[in-house]
Symmetry: D2
Subunit: 506 residues, 4 copies
C-alpha cells in the first residue's frame, strides 16, 4: 500500500485484556486483526476529560457492575440496548443538543429531506465511535427513515451519557467506555444478531463490524445493499477483499473524499499542531527552529502554521515534487541529519517508519521536543529509547523527558503516538464533514439504481463531495455564485455540478 | 470541456479554417493579423522591449526585406534555414548562454546522458516559440543525439538574434519576428518537407504543426513515434482527434504534468499578479479591497499574494469545494454583486466567460482596476464597454481609462486579455520546467518499448514528472531524503519512485 | 492615565484602603478574598494543575495547619522563613533546575559577573510572585552578591515547593499558597522588619511592599538606594508619589522597557490568543469571522495570529494612526455595531471600559465567543449579563454559556477577565526577559554613581534594554553583527550601543 | 547623528554642470553642500518615462532654448514665472486632476476649511519636487488663503507640463526639468527676491531654499513665522543650526511624523522591494535565499514581503533589540559572512556604510543579485568593483552584470543607489500623506499663538499626526470608533485625541 493516511488508524489496538490509558500495542504485532479508530471522537473525549463537568460526572461514577450484567429499560419500556447507565440520558441529551448546533449540515439534511425519507426501509447497522456527534448522525439517519443498531468501534471512546440518551431515544445501542475485548465483540454481535431483523446497510469505521459479519453471518450479505467505510484501515481491508474477489456488495470509501481529506489533514493539522504543542509543553513558537519531516497535506499544514507563528521551519522529503513545493513555499529542504543538532522541535508527518531513529535522538540538543503528527506510532523509533542508560521521567500527562547520561533531556510527546489525537482536539466542524459524508454515502448506496455500483470499492461521487461542501458553506455565511445558462454551456458543465474533472487536484 | 487552463493559449489567433471549438474569435474580427503567443516567450520579449539593449538592437533593425527573399549562409556554408539576419548570431549566442545559466535542469540532462545519446536517431520537427530558452532546449536535444528542424508557433514571438545563433550553430530554423500568415505556414512546411529527411518525432505548441502534417503529409505518421504537445489548445485538438479515432500515433500531453501545472498557475501567478498590477498602475496594495473571481490554482495564487501584501480579498466561486477552501484560507466568499460597489480591484481567474459584465462595470466605484488572470479575453465583457456614452482613454501601454458620463473612471488592463502575459514576465525557472518536461517526454516516447503507448493521449508518467522536479531542486540547494530499504519495503515503494498514487492531489 | 497596559495588573485586588484610581472593584464585592496575580506565574501554575504531577502533589497536601503556626527549620538549622512545608524542598529544587535551563540569560549573568559581585553589599527585599522563575532570579541576585528577603505579591500564586527549596537554600522567604489578607501583610512585614538588618534595595511587583515601608518604616528609605517596580499599577503608584513630591528614592520602571513590552504584548499575545481560545472552546479558527477591538500591540498580535490561521478579522479603533496601520495590515476597520451580528468571536484589547456592552451582547449570534485580552475585567460589561432573563451555565472551567430566552447562547470566557492569564500560559522565555530586566535594573540602581538618578521614576537605560535583548539571542542561536570602527564613526555610535535614539519606535 | 533615514537624501547632488541620467556623485564628496531629494517624485517620473504617453510627450519636446531666455505669458497675461513651455498647461492640468483623485485628504482639507481660510495672509515660498502631487498641495494652500512662489528642489524632477499648468493657474513657478546648477539657484532667488513681496512661511525639501535665504536675505527671517522641512538632510541642517544657536524661527520637522515614517518605510518598502526586483531582474521569489541587512522599518518591510512570496530570508543586525525582533518574526539572524556564499539576493537596509564590501562580493555565488534599499549609495562598496579584472556589462537600464575572471556574474542594481527610488515607484497614497502633513504643519506654524513655538526644531504635534491619518481613512472606507464620554473620562483622554503618549511606539 502506498502512503498511509494519518487518521489515527491503529492507535487503538483491539485487546485481549483490558488495556489501560497509556498502554497501546501496535496493531501489527497481532496476526490477523487490524485496529481501528479514526480521527476524532475519543480525542474530544480525552479533552473533555480535562475540562468539562461532563467528564467528571462520568468519572465519578464508581459503579463497577458490568453493563452486561445490568437490567435497564428506557422510559418507554424498551430494553433492547446495553449501556452503562440509562439515568445519564438527560445529560447526554444536552451534549447532543450542543453538538447539533455545531453540525448544521446534518440538520439541513434532515430539513431538506423532510417528507421524502430517502432512507425509508433502510436497516443500518453501525460500528463507530459513540459520541455526541455520532448521535447527531444517527438521529439524522433515523429522521430520514432508517432503523439503526449501533456498537462502538473502540473500547475506550464511548461517551456513556450519549449512549444513554440514544438508548432513551429508542436506539439499540450496545457500547460503554472501557469494554473488554470480549465485550467488544459481544456488542457487535448484539447489533447484528437479532431475531426477525436483518441489516441492509453497514456503516463501519475500521472494518471490525464488516469482518464479523463476513465471519459469522455471511448470508446476511444477500440483503445488504452496501458498506460505507470511513477509516484507512477499513478501506484497506475492503480493497484487499475486492482484490481477492471476496467483496460481495458495493462499498463506499468515504475516507478519500476530497472534502474530508482536506479537513482531516491540511486544515485540521494546521491548528492542531499548535494546540498539541502548547497544551503539552507551553513552548513559545516565535524564533524556534523546527524540522517538519514530510510535506504532504499534514506537513504542509504544520509548516504553514509554525511559520506563521514565527518559527523557522525546515522540511525533509523523499518525493521531489513535494520537495519542490516546500521550496516554493519558502522552506529550506534538508536532510534530517543536516539540522538535527540545531532544531528545537522535530515533527514527523511522513506516514513512514523509523524516520527519527536513535542516532538522531542522540544528536538532538538539550530540550528538543519530538512529536509525531503522521502515522500511528511508527515514525519515531521510541523503542530505541528504552535502554538502560536513558532515564524516562513523566513530567505531565503525555509528556516524557528522556534523559541522557550527560543530563540532556529530550521532550517526547505522547510516546511517539499521534500528537493531534493524544494531546489536541478535533473541531466539531471536521467531524461534521465526516458525518455528512457518511450520511450521503449511505443515501447514495441505498438509493442507487441496480447496476450503478458493482461489487467493488468506490469513491464518493464528486457531485456528492461537492454537496457535502455546499452544506457547510452556511457556517461561514459564504455565498456561492451560480453559473448562468450561457456560462454553463460555455464550460460544458451542468449548473449543479460536478464542476471539476475527477483528476482535478484542488 | 471542463475548466479551461490559463496558459494563454487562447491569446493565439488560430488561423483561417483551422480553428477549433475553443479558439477565441478576436483574431477574426480584426482585419490584419495579430500574433499568437503562449505562456511566455513573447512576454519576456515585451519586457525586454522596455528595458534591455537587446530589444533596441533588434528594433533598430530597419531591414525591410523579407527573409524569404534573402540568401544567407552560416559560417559553415549551410543555407538550410530562413531567418532575419545571420549576422545577429553572436548577440543571440550571448542570450542563449545567459539562459543556460538559468536552466540548469537541461544542462544537467546533457551531462547525465553524456555518452548515452538517448535520442540518437531521433529526427525532431518542432514548432514552438523561438527564444533563448527554446534554444537551450534544442541544443539539449541535439546533445542527446537528435536532429532538429524548427518553426515558430507564433508570428511575433521569435527572437531574431536567437534564431540567427541557432542557424549559425547548424540548426535548420525557419522563423522571424513579424511573419505573415503565409510565411507562417511556409516556414512550417520548410521544416517537414525536405528531400531525404523525414521526422520521427513532433514537438508542438498549439497543434498547428501536427495539423499541417495531418493535412499535407499524412503518410509521414508511419514513421513518427509520437507527438509531444504543450498547449491547452493543442492538447484539446489531440483529444478530439483521439475521440474521432483519427489519432494515429501516441501523444504526450505535457501541459497537465503536475510540476508544470503548479508552476504555471499557483507559483507563477502568485508573483505575476503583483508584478502586473504594479507595472501598469503603480497601485499600493496595502488596505485595498480586492475581489478575486475564481479560486482555482490561479485564484489561490492571486489571493494569497494580495493578502500577504495587506489587501482585503474577497473571493467568488461556483464550486462548493473550492469555495470551502477559500473560507478556510481566510477569504470571505461572496457573490460579485455584493462587493462590486466597494472594491478597488477586480481580478478574474475563472476560465469562464462574461464573469464581469457591463452591469457590474456600471456599479464599480471610480478608479476601480479591472483585470484578467484567467482565460483568454472572455472573462471581462470588454465589448460591452464599446458604447458611445463611454470614453476610452489610453493612459499607458496596456492601460485604458474607461470614462462614464459622470466622470467615473474604470482602469482596464490589457483590454481584458491576460494580465500576466501582457504586463508581466514569466520567470525562466518556469520555462525551464516546461522545457525539461518536453525533453523528457520526447525521450520517453522515443525510447518506449513497442506497445507501452498506443494511439492515444497520455499524461507524462509520474516518475518522469518527479524527475523533472528533482532536476530543479539543486537550484534551491535542496537536499532530498532517500528511503532506506526497510522504509521502501514498509511503504511498498521503489526507492526511486514514483512516490505517490496517480490520484494524489499534492 | 493614558492607555493602560495589559499585564494583568488589575487582576490584583489591591487591598483595603490602599486602592488607587484604577483599581478594579471586583475584590471588594466578594466576601472572601480573591488572589491577585500578574502576568504569569499562577498561570503556569494553573496549567500545571491540569497536567503535571507537581500540582497534584501540592493539591494532595491536606495539611491544614497555617504555616504561621508551624516550627520549621531547614537542614542547616535556619528558621528565618515561613512557608508551607520545608519537606517539599527537593521537589521544588527540581522545578528550579528545569526553569534554569529555560532562563539562560540569568545563568549567563551569573557567569559573566563571576568574581565581580556587582551586588555585593546589596540587601534586597522583594515582593513578587514566588515561582521557579523567581527563584532563578533570586539565586542569581545572591550569586551576584546580594542578600535577599522575600514575600509574595499574590496570595494564591506561590509555588509551595519552590518556596521550600528557597528556604532550604538559605533564603528568607515568607509566602505560601492561599494566604489570608492578614497573612499577606504579616509576610511582608517579616521581610522588612528584622533586628539588625535593613534593606537597601526594593524589588516590587504591584507596589504593596513599597507602600508598607512608606507607611510603617519611612525611615528605612534613608538607606534605600532605589526601587525596581515591574507592574503597571506599581509604576502608576510611583508616578503619583513622584507627582506629589513624596518619592524619596530613585525608582526604575521596568514595566515599560522596550524588550519587556514587546514580549509581554505583541509576541506573547500572538500565541496566547490561539492557545486560550483552543483550550477553552476547541474552536476551529479557519473561516471564522472575528472582531478584534483595539489595534495596539495586543490587538496587532491577536489579529495577525488569527489571520494566519485562516480567520477573517475585523478591527475597531479609536486612534486614527493605529486605525491606518490596521488598514495597511489588511484588516477592515469597522465600528463594532457594523459586524456584531455576523462575527463568531469578539476579542477586546483596548485597555478601555465597556467596549462590549449589553446592547452588543444582545445582538451577537448564537454561539458567539466573547473574551478579553486587554485590561482587567472592565472591557466586557459582564455585570450587564447578570439579569434574571439570562441563564448562566458553566460548561467548563473558565467557560460560561449565557443563554437568552430564545435559546441563543453566548460563550463567555473567564467571565471577562484576561483570557491569556486565565486560560493560557506565559512562556518561560517571556518571564526570563522580565527577570533579567529586573536584575539589571537592580544592578544599575545599586551601582549608579551619586547623582545619576534623582528622586524620580526612570525608564531602564536603552543600553541595558539592549543588553537584556543580547542575553536572549543565544536562545535562538542568533549571531549579532558588530560595527567596524569605521562604521561606528560614520554612524556616530559607540560600538557597544546604545544603537538607537530614545524616540526610536522599533 | 544616529541611524540615518532612508529617504533618498543625497541621491541627487546639486551639480555644477548638468549630470546625466546614471551619473551620480556622492554628496559628501563635496565640501559644503548637502544634497536633497526626498522619497519620490522623480521616481514616479522615471516610471512615467517608461510607460505613459505623458512622458513621451515631454520627451519629444526638442526645444533647446533655455526657459530663462524665453518670454512666456499665461492666458491672463502674467509673466511672473519661468518654465519650459506654457503650452503644455492643458496636459499638465489633466495630470493634476488625476492626482487629485488619489489625494482625497488634501481635497478634504480644502472642503473642511471652506470659508475659513486658515492661511489667509500667508506668503509661502516653497522649494520641492514639482510634480502633479505637489501641484495639488500648492492649489490646496492657495485654496486655504495662501500666496505661493515655488522653485524645484531637484534639477531633474520637475514635470514640465505640471509646471506649465501651475503657471497658467497663476502660480509663480520657477522650475524645469534639466536645470543647471546656476539655473537652480537662479530659480530659488526668483522665488524669494521680489519687489514688494516678502515670504512669511518656508516649505523646504532639502534645506537649499532655507540656506539661500540665510545666506542672501537674512533679514527676511524677521517676517517669517516658520519653516516646514520634509527631508532628513534638511532636518539635519536645521538641528545643526539650532545647536549652533543660529536658528531664528521655529521649524517643523515633518520627516519624523509617525504616519509619514511608517508609510515611507515599512508599508512602502514592503511593496517596492518586490516591484524593484521584478522590474529590473524578473527574478522569481519563490524558494530564493535572501539576506536582508538591517532590521529597522525598511528591513522589516522587505523581509516580510519576501517571506510572504516564498523566499527564505536571513537577517543581519547590529542592534540586539531589532535582532530579537527578527528572531521572533521568524528570521534566522546571521552574520553576513555565514550566508554570503549561499544567498541568491542581498539587500541592504542599514543606513550604514560598507555593509557589503568587496570581500563579500568576491564570495557571492554566480547570479547573485545585490541591491540597496537603505541609505544613499554608501551601503554597497561599489567603488571596490571598479577594478581592472572585473568586467561591467550593462544589461538593462539600472542593471549591471559585474563579471569575475572565472565568469561569475553579480547582478548589481542601480549601481548601489536606492532601488526603490531608481527602479520602482512611490504610491500616490504615500505622497498624499507627506503633502497633507506639510499642509497641516504650515497651518499649525502660521496660526500658532505667540510663544507656542520657539526658535527650535519641533515634531508635528501628535494630534495633527492623528489628523493626517484620519484624513486618509476614508480611502479605505475605514470607520473609526468614537469614545463615549464615560470612556474618555476613564482613560483620561480628550475624545478628539491625542490618544497616545508621546513615547508610544505604534
Amino acid at each position: 500500500m502506498l502512503k498511509k493516511r494519518r487518521d489515527g488508524e491503529r492507535e487503538q489496538p483491539v485487546v485481549k485484556k483490558i488495556q489501560f490509558a497509556d498502554q497501546k500495542q501496535e496493531f501489527n504485532k497481532r496476526p490477523s486483526k487490524i485496529g481501528r479508530r479514526s480521527l476524532s471522537r475519543s480525542i474530544s473525549q480525552s479533552s473533555t476529560d480535562s475540562y468539562s463537568s461532563a467528564a467528571s460526572y462520568t468519572d465519578s461514577s464508581d459503579d463497577e457492575t458490568s453493563p452486561r450484567d445490568k437490567q435497564q429499560k428506557n422510559s418507554k419500556g424498551s430494553a433492547d440496548f446495553c449501556i452503562k447507565n440509562i439515568k445519564q440520558a438527560d445529560f447526554g441529551r444536552r451534549e447532543i443538543e450542543i453538538a447539533e448546533q455545531e453540525m448544521p449540515a446534518l440538520m439541513a439534511l434532515r430539513k431538506r429531506a423532510q417528507g421524502e425519507k430517502p432512507l425509508a426501509g433502510a436497516k443500518i447497522v453501525g460500528c463507530t465511535h459513540i459520541t455526541a456527534q455520532t448521535a447527531v448522525l444517527m438521529e439524522t439517519l433515523a429522521a430520514l427513515g432508517a432503523q439503526c443498531r449501533w456498537a462502538a468501534c473502540n473500547i475506550y471512546s464511548t461517551q456513556n451519557e450519549v449512549a444513554a440518551a440514544l438508548a432513551e431515544g429508542g436506539f439499540s445501542v450496545f457500547a460503554w467506555k472501557g469494554e473488554s475485548e470480549d465485550d467488544f465483540w459481544w456488542c457487535i454481535d448484539r447489533c447484528v444478531n437479532l431475531e426477525g431483523w436483518q441489516p441492509n446497510m453497514i456503516l463501519d469505521d475500521g472494518g471490525d463490524l464488516t469482518h464479523w459479519i463476513y465471519k459469522k453471518y455471511p448470508n446476511m450479505f444477500k440483503k445488504i445493499k452496501g458498506i460505507v467505510e470511513e477509516s484507512v484501515t477499513g478501506v484497506h481491508r475492503l480493497y484487499q477483499l475486492s482484490k481477492a474477489g471476496k467483496l460481495c456488495v458495493p462499498a463506499m470509501n468515504v475516507n478519500d473524499s476530497v472534502t474530508k481529506q482536506k479537513f482531516d489533514n491540511l486544515y485540521c493539522c494546521r491548528e492542531s499542531i499548535l494546540d498539541g504543542l502548547k497544551r503539552t509543553t507551553d513552548v513559545m513558537f516565535g524564533g524556534k527552529q523546527v524540522v517538519v519531516c514530510g510535506y504532504g497535506e499534514v506537513g504542509k499544514g504544520c509548516s504553514a502554521a509554525l511559520k506563521a507563528m514565527g518559527s523557522i521551519v525546515y522540511v525533509t522529503e523523499i518525493d521531489p515534487i513535494c520537495a519542490l513545493q516546500a521550496c516554493m513555499d519558502g522552506f529550506r529542504l534538508v536532510k534530517l541529519s543536516e539540522v538535527i543538532r540545531q532544531v528545537d522541535i522535530v515533527i514527523t508527518c511522513t506516514g513512514n517508519k523509523n524516520v527519527v531513529v536513535r542516532e538522531y535522538l542522540d544528536r538532538m540538543k538539550n530540550g528538543c521536543i519530538v512529536c509525531n503528527m503522521g502515522h500511528s506510532n511508527t515514525e519515531i523509533d521510541v523503542a530505541s529509547l528504552r535502554t538502560p542508560e536513558l532515564t524516562w521521567e513523566r513530567v505531565r500527562s503525555q509528556v516524557d523527558h528522556v534523559i541522557w547520561p550527560d543530563g540532556k533531556r529530550i521532550v517526547l510527546l505522547a510516546e511517539g503516538r499521534l500528537l493531534n489525537l493524544s494531546c489536541s482536539t478535533v473541531p466539531t466542524f471536521v467531524l461534521s464533514i465526516t458525518a455528512t459524508t457518511q450520511a450521503l454515502a449511505l443515501i447514495e448506496l441505498y438509493n442507487a439504481p441496480e447496476g450503478r455500483y458493482k461489487q467493488d470499492v468506490y469513491l464518493l461521487p464528486k457531485k456528492m463531495d461537492e454537496y457535502v461542501a455546499s452544506l457547510h458553506l452556511p457556517t461561514f455565511d459564504a455565498h456561492l455564485t451560480e453559473l448562468t445558462d450561457e456560462q454553463a454551456k460555455y464550460l460544458g458543465l451542468n449548473k449543479n455540478g460536478p464542476f471539476k474533472p475527477n483528476y482535478y487536484r484542488y
